[in-house]
């Protein structure tokens, strides 16, 4: 856990230090490439796994349940925050 956070924090320091260098902003495209590669690897390890491939519908059902509950939970919480703290002023500045 700490390795990931440490690497991200180190990257943030480097990014801040070189924020004026125009080439560093191309990092977004590089991130997309690395993510595609990582997802390819994840897909590959799933593809080689017969147990997962044979039960894909089962995993989709579980994923849909967690996704549905996450959206419902965050929406209900947002509604509460809006009603309690933002609605009075009629705008977002409160």
């Amino acid at each position: 856990m700490f390795i990931f956070l440490f690497l991200m924090a180190s990257g943030a320091v480097v990014g801040y230090r070189f924020r004026c260098v125009s080439k560093i902003h191309k990092v977004t495209s590089l991130i997309q490439v690395v993510i595609c590669f990582l997802l390819f690897i994840l897909g590959f390890s799933i593809g080689t796994n017969r147990l997962i491939m044979d039960n894909l519908k089962y995993f989709c059902e579980q994923a849909a349940l967690i996704a549905g509950l996450s959206i419902l939970g965050s929406s209900v919480a947002a509604l509460l925050v809006y009603q309690l703290f933002f609605k009075k002023g009629g705008d977002y500045e409160g």
Binding site: M1, G11, H25, L42, G47, L51, M53, A63
Partner: protein, 206 residues
């Protein structure tokens, strides 16, 4: 949307390749090293983000309530899934939920971080569920924005979007929640983006 489709395409391509081909080297170890590179790149992207200055200038403590609502609501309701899905613990379900639609990073992180504790097989299954759940979240937030706005108010499309509130879903948020919501949506997206590796790592280790 184009980026999401490309990611989905690479994932499906990987699945198809995995079904038909086998490799001799340790693919798990390779993904760990690539993930290290990704974490550094994400940090660099955050550090050189020009929006951060504007965000710091327009910062208002009250606006923090929106990402807090997103995080708390997601955690509470994802925990409910832990009671329904007997295969996974409450913390596993919260770890999946704490991807906040950041399917690429959360799925890979969960697979890596859960492997030592529950083994490669279960960790890959949970990573798959995280990938699918967070893709579903982004899709539902995108397609269902008008309904979410209608039933849960102006801030709900921002919360439902998760990290997508700062980029892919910004247009639909602006359409339904109003242009005034854009600064909140961007700030929300940045904060949730930063929090994903932290929360996923935290709940994977509980």
């Amino acid at each position: 949307m184009k980026g999401s489709l490309a990611i989905l395409l690479f994932f499906l391509l990987g699945c198809a390749s995995g079904v038909y081909y086998h490799v001799d080297f340790d693919i798990h170890q390779l993904s760990v090293y690539v993930l290290y590179v990704l974490m550094i790149l994400l940090g660099i992207n955050l550090g050189c983000n020009q929006d951060l200055k504007g965000f710091a200038r327009s910062f208002n403590l009250k606006l923090l309530l929106v990402p807090v609502a997103t995080v708390m609501g997601t955690f509470l309701f994802s925990a409910l899934a832990g009671f329904i899905l007997s295969r996974w613990s409450i913390f596993d379900c919260i770890a999946v939920g704490s991807g906040f639609a950041y399917y690429s990073v959360s799925s890979v992180l969960i697979t890596q971080l859960k492997t030592p504790s529950i083994g490669m097989q279960l960790a890959t299954e949970l990573g798959t569920i995280a990938l699918l759940a967070n893709i579903f979240r982004e899709m539902v937030a995108l397609i269902g924005a008008p309904l979410i706005y209608r039933f849960f108010g102006r801030l709900a499309p921002i919360s439902a979007a998760g990290i997508g509130s700062a980029d892919i879903l910004l247009a639909s948020i602006s359409k339904y929640s109003g242009k005034e919501a854009i600064p909140i949506a961007v700030m929300h997206g940045i904060l949730i983006n930063v929090s994903v590796p932290f929360f996923v790592s935290l709940f994977c280790n509980l």
